[in-house]
């Protein structure tokens, strides 16, 4: 479904991605783990066309998207939902307007149907009845869940989650994990998750990939990652301060 080939990206002198090779199969949940600042968010922004690579290709169902014009790229990105790390809610709009934004652009539903779907999606993330509030009236965790409702509202084929459980209490975080699994099982949604939450990664992932030094150093099932002999992975998944990862 998505294939990333030899992806390179630098910001000035800072080489963030140094040849990423990664693939996402249809209906699969791929979790990308790695240190803060290792380029995980940069990677998913490339997948949706928000950033242009210095070198490399990204294929979505066989279509190379890095060289597409904006209009053609929009046709592809319609299939994506993206939950931003910082939520990126539109602060001049109500919660309901935020959630309905994609529905109004991507579907031909009537206003009543859109209203109904907005309520349904807010209910899915445990926020029923807050449609009239403005984003500044919400807590950090609530904003995150509104961002999630916005990303899934129009039922995209591929959903990219940038740290979905950050800033959310453990019970809500687990509920979001269940929601991600449900989306996969019921709607065959393909999913890429960026996270530091190893417990969540083990619960939801079909495959886990570790990004370190601008490259994917290992990928495999949660069991394979758990049993990996790579000391970098062991240090990261065990959360140890001492080990081969010194640059923290």
């Amino acid at each position: 479904m998505i294939r990333v080939v030899n992806l390179h990206k630098a910001f000035g002198q800072n080489k963030v991605l140094r040849g990423i090779n990664l693939s996402l199969k249809s209906g699969e949940i791929l979790v990308v783990i790695g240190q803060s600042g290792s380029g995980k968010s940069v990677l998913i922004k490339h997948m949706i066309g928000l950033l242009k690579p210095d070198k490399g290709e990204i294929y979505v169902d066989g279509v190379e998207i890095t060289c597409l014009k904006d209009e053609d790229l929009h046709k592809i990105t319609r299939r994506f939902g993206l939950l931003f790390q910082g939520t990126a809610l539109f602060d001049s709009m109500t919660v309901a307007q935020n959630v309905s934004f994609g529905l109004e652009r991507y579907t031909d539903f009537s206003k009543e149907k859109i209203q109904e779907l907005v309520e349904e999606n807010l209910d899915l993330v445990g926020l029923k009845g807050i449609g009239n509030l403005m984003p500044y009236e919400l807590s950090g965790g609530m904003k995150k869940r509104v961002g999630l409702a916005r990303a899934i509202a129009y039922r995209p084929d591929i959903i990219l989650y940038d740290e979905p459980s950050t800033g959310i209490d453990p019970i809500r975080a687990d509920a979001i994990n269940d929601l991600i699994i449900r989306m996969k099982n019921e709607l065959n949604v393909s999913t890429v998750i960026i996270t530091h939450d190893i417990a969540s990664a083990y619960k939801v992932a079909d495959r886990i990939a570790m990004l370190y030094g601008g490259k994917i150093i290992e990928e495999g099932t949660p069991e394979e990652i758990e049993k990996s002999k790579n000391p970098v992975i062991q240090q990261f998944v065990r959360g140890r301060a001492k080990g081969p990862i010194e640059n923290w």
Binding site: K45, I48, G49, F80, F84, F101
Partner: protein, 274 residues
Amino acid sequence: MLIWNFSLLKPKMFQRVKSPHLYVYSFFQQVGEVGLLLFKTFKNLFRKPWEKKIFIQQLEEVGVRSLPVVSLTAAFGGLVFGLQTYIGFHRYIGPGSETFGGPIISLGLSKELIPILVGLMVSGRVGSAIAAEIGTMKITEQIDALFSLGADPIRYIVVPRTLACFVMLPCLTIYGDIIGIGGGFFYNVYLMGVNRVLYIRNTLLYIELWDLFSGIIKAAVFGVIIALIGCWQGLKTEGGAEGVGRATTQTVVIASITILIINFFLSKALPASL
């Protein structure tokens, strides 16, 4: 591809160069960025969906909310212009000639002073607000969110603001003309006792409709300049709150200077009368 990521225009070889050439390069790069934004805006003007709701909001923001500041500047601009014209005629031509101040005031205000005052006031009030709003959206990833949700940022953000400024600046200028010319009339006729009938007759005799139109054309151009520079600075904002502050200041400075420069060339290019 991503038109709001202007760094794509900058070749790597120039990113590290620190020499006088950089200033020349930087100037042309910025002109190129605004030119590119203008081109993209024009291209998206005719593409659906039109963001009618935002356009109407911007009409109110640019037009209705600028009325108080335009009223004050036009009124006092008209009064002071009336004052100096009265002194000029009274001192150099002689008592009784002040009635000819009417057409001079109307011409000067409608062709030059009011379009410029409106342009400068709106660039301070609206241009800075556009840059601050879009800059905040940029640093909080809202522009990226627009893109990911199928809204082209140029079509959604830049086009309605540019159109609203293009429409409202001429309207504000017409309004400012009325207030300013009224101010000149008030000073001469009611404060200095100039003959009202002769003042009005001379004004209507010598002023041409084209004088008003040329000011309106200038205002429309200034509107596009203000909106484009505000959007451009907003879209290239980086670095948090400090970056937003820099973008708003830059918008006011660049837009004001551009208006003053373009005004001269428009005055030269537009015919004195038809």
